[in-house]
Amino acid sequence: MEQAIAWHIRLSRPDAPVDDWEEFTLWLEKDALHRRAYDRVSDMDAGLSGLQPTIHTESGAQPTSSRNTPARWKPVLAAIAALFICALLLWPQLSGPELQVVETQAGERRTITLSADTRIELNGGSRIILEQGNERLARLEQGEAVFHVRHDAQNPFIVETGRYILKDAGTVFNVARHGEGLHVAVAEGKVIFQPDTKAIGIDAGKQLHVPASGTAKLVNVAVGDIGAWREGRLNFYEAPLDIVAADIMRASGKKISVSPSLSERNFTGVLIVEKDEAQFKRQLELLLNVRVTANGEAWLLEP
């Protein structure tokens, strides 16, 4: 098992040389159990996609890195996070109604039809929880979705997402989560953000940006651009490159990481998701003004 793990890590290096591959072949040939062990490691690794990148505090005061947190707080935060995770895991069993989890892999899309006039189009890398028997509530746990909602003032459609709540007022709208941040764009009708507290109304043609920390901002957006990921078009307005990378991954399944030295860089414009990797790579290099290097299956964006 230890050898299988060592191989798994060694071969994840993008520059693993021919010698490594040949040695790996010999190791596999030596014993059929080696292959079994390697499969187990590889399966385990593939199943880790839902892991959290870093532990966030709910206040969001230090959104980017847990390394800024004083060391003495770490065990406490870890314990809180563990409790939080346990609560999250137990939550479906504790609350009454049956819950339905719908999940997509990166690059995959799904349409969930709740009723004749209410449906949810789920982007890749997304997870949504629905309550059976209640088609007016959806919890977007991760990722992005376009909601087509029948408006009923008596019984509004509610989207819960992280610590935020959205209430429809007659509507087609797109919701995208980026970690703790949130983007809500309205194509038709109106959506109320945080109806019980701030109650910010988002009209058609507007997009609300809620950053992980700091103040929310309402900007104009072309209605035709809303939910354009469904056609493989990704629109960005002053978006940090890690958000751009996350959106590309959702839509295409391509894993992209951003060099820390680009963390200050923003992008405004449109990217087209292309099947042809070489062309897509060139497009990214040109439009984002970066260098794209392959890192195993993933791409790394560098200045």
Partner: protein, 191 residues
């Protein structure tokens, strides 16, 4: 074998080294049939690939072969899951929920159980090990980049990662209990 290859260099390299790749695929899949199928697909991909100059063509081909095994493994699993879900749906006479996309709740629950066990294990690890593991596996940072970031050697990064993976593989949720959903078991090979 030169570093700079003509446009069709990768195809030529493939043909020249077909035996090596076949041997690798055979060892990796444990099945002559599977490895032959994957090799065929790989050949089609190689001919279509429009790569710029590849510095080490053979390593690149090995990488493609390696990824092709993972892809076929994954699509097999997905197909299996779909078939299971379809069967389960028929058995239960479902479709009454009005929700068209049916995930497999049992698998989801198992998946969550695994993730929470991994999170818990990470919280038990030394801070640096856990940080490196998350940065590597979740954020997709390369070992080289992480080594630079922390000012340590790549082999030190590798050791941390190995420690993390070992701790995770030792978790009970990953115990090898003759997992019936495993792909390339004896039965599947014969089928």
């Amino acid at each position: 074998m030169t570093d700079q290859m003509p446009p069709d260099g990768l195809s030529a390299l493939f043909l020249e080294n077909r035996d090596k790749l076949q041997r690798f695929l055979r060892a990796r899949t444990g099945s002559a049939d599977d490895s032959e199928d994957i090799l065929q697909d790989l050949w089609i991909k190689v001919q279509k690939a429009q790569t710029g100059p590849v510095s080490d063509g053979m390593a690149y081909l090995y990488r493609m072969a390696h990824n092709a095994v993972l892809d076929s493994h994954r699509s097999d699993q997905r197909r299996k899951k779909r078939d299971d879900a379809w069967q389960a749906g028929r058995d239960a006479g479902a479709a009454s929920t009005g929700i068209s996309a049916e995930p497999d709740p049992e698998a989801l629950l198992m998946q969550r159980e695994k993730l929470s066990a991994v999170e818990a294990a990470l919280n038990q690890m030394p801070e640096r090990t856990a940080y490196l593991f998350r940065a590597f596996r979740v954020e997709g940072k390369s070992q080289k980049l992480l080594a630079q970031e922390l000012g340590i050697s790549i082999s030190a990064v590798e050791k941390h990662l190995q420690r993390a993976y070992r701790a995770i593989m030792a978790l009970e949720v990953y115990a090898d209990n003759g997992d019936r959903r495993r792909l390339m078991t004896k039965g599947d090979e014969d089928a």
